[in-house]
Amino acid sequence: MNGRALRAVWAVAAKDARVALTERMSLLQALTLPLNYLIMMSLFALAGGHDPAALVMADHGSYARQFASSMAGARTFSITDASAQEAAARIRAGNLVAAVTIPPGFDTDIRDHQAATVRVVVNNLNQDLTDDAERGMRLALDQFYQSAAPGQVPVSVSFQDQYPGGDTGYISFLSMSVVVISVLVAGLLSAGNAAAREYEERTMRGLLLAPVRLRHILVGRILGSFLISLPSVAIVMAVVALLAGDRPQHPVAAAGTALLTLAGSCAAGAALGALARDRSVVAVITRALPVPLFFLTGVFAPLSYFPPAVQWMGGLLPVHYAVVLTQWGFRGLMTGTVPLAADAAILTAAFAAFAAAGAVALRWTARIRPARRRAVSRGR
């Protein structure tokens, strides 16, 4: 690329960046949409957290207290003590998943080797909550047996963790993928809007008549969108690092993945904008297609844990490889099924493919006015 080409590339990039800065609503959307996903995923994680349960202690003996602490250790319930009337009122009002009653005489029954029954009323709003409450109660029972009569249950379970440093919290785990979706949305929206705007405002004709090659216009567009998207990506990464506690273990890999994904999404956005030629269509397609597909890429758990059809679809999407690399970059988690170098190579190939698609879309746009192009060529 010679100096003239570089100047052309920079002129297109600077122009796109300047115009984008005047569109506050687009900037707001590019920034808030990923944060929106962070909030939504956090709410999803909170919804899957501990179930609210009321515990009615009609017996305060040592066995009853042991059962209460077993419930607290069952990793299922958020427990509040209540009287029988309060518990009944709260479960009727729909504020509890379960009301658990340790009956009077619980300790006496246990000491007399009689069956002691803990009563549970489950608010079976849906199957998932019911299953959760039932499993939680059985786990509490298991822990109660272990503490009240060690060795009575003749089988125990020993766990060996793959990551000895501890589990990654669910919100932190989901947040890493939010970085990828923020990059995806920011790139698609900024490049897509920049390209579509040229058609809406009829400035594309002027651009096509300029004595520069189409590929320089495309590179300039990708570069401009890339630069204008960087702050929003940085803000999302900072939010994820500071609020969700995802400090990158491999900062170069995490940043490199974000930049490569951003370049790819800018290239895809440039192609999309040239084909759609309407910013509202770009906005609709951006949120309607890549975002749903994003959820097929291993956001909630490694893709290989999903049914084969989902695995197959996810494997076709470059974003999956970005998610895998990001999870490794931030937390050192190996969630992919191919080596990390292959993930990076696939992501690079996707960028090249999207850039080629952008070039084809731009060339196709240029070909619809061949007379003007020929006139320009003759003049040159």
């Binding site: 919804a47 060795g151 089988v155 309607a288 937390r331």
Partner: protein, 380 residues
Amino acid sequence: MDARPGPARRRILARWALAALAVAAKDLRVHLSRPWQAIGILLVPLSYTLVALLGSQAVGASPVAVVNADHGPAGAQITGAIISAGVFRLTETSPAQASRLYQDQQVAAVITIPPGTSALLARHRHAVIDVRLHNMDADLADDIRRGVPDAVIGWYLARQPRGPVRAVISETELRPQDVPLYEYSVLPVIVLVITVSGILVAGMAAAREYESKTIRGLLLAPVPAGVIIAGKMAAGWAATTVTALIVLTAGAVLGWTRPDGLAGWADSVAAIALASLFAAGLGIAIGCWGRRAQPVSVGATILAVELFALSGGLGVIFFEPPWLQAVARFDPLTYAVHALQQAVFYSSTTGWARDAAVRALSAVAAAVAGTLAMRRRLAR
């Protein structure tokens, strides 16, 4: 005294009604001529359905390998208990194959019942089950840490053991039937369809008048601004109600969202109609205040999703942390979701009056905000 309006007053009211109808018919025609808008309305909720379905699948049955190295009855019984616990998608396999599956990320854990377990138990000795676990996120890891002991205690209690401690759990369910999670997730998605559609259809109808500068002509018409607002709201309300009813009917055909009898259908239609009125009012307010398509698009993608998530779209709001419940009280969608759930799943009128009043008041408030925005323009 005759309270009926006089003939002149009736003529004016009829003229206003005709004007509102004309505005509504024009807006509906414009909406129907924009297929991308209709696709966008359905695809946004579809992406959240994917979030809910894939999310629940991810936090549901994890893939796990079981190695039963014991050749006695206890190993087979414990394996059976793990299978019947319904927590895992199990692959019963050899140690070597299990290791391969674990290394290739095909399973989240390997459960090994060691050789000689039956012999140990026959001699009243203690046996330990080993679990190797990919603890990459806390939610997935906790599912396994709860699931295996749950299966073990299930196996132990099924043997009707005779030990010093005999504690059991007696469970009562509050409702006659459980609703599967995916069915439970459909109703909030219908409310999301309503919100996105209401904001987009009514909001775009208002914003487009400003963008194409036809608002001047509209405001010069010899009818009050409230009549124009009413017409635009009617268009948004009609399009939204019809779209939501189509989704509800599709759910009923699939057997997911089938209201109980005529009363259930009437309740559901009323709930949808009122929610649509609120969404259309909100759209008008955003369109009139923003005066461009972009704020409407942002409102439909970001505001609608936030309101949806806060209303318990991804869980049950009454089981969320108290601070979130406090915020959700100010979200009209909370009452829309509640009203629909009561009508469709539980054939109950609990909170009907409160839900209807909140949505009606919210719709009126939104319409007043829209009228004020339009009046402001008129004053300028």
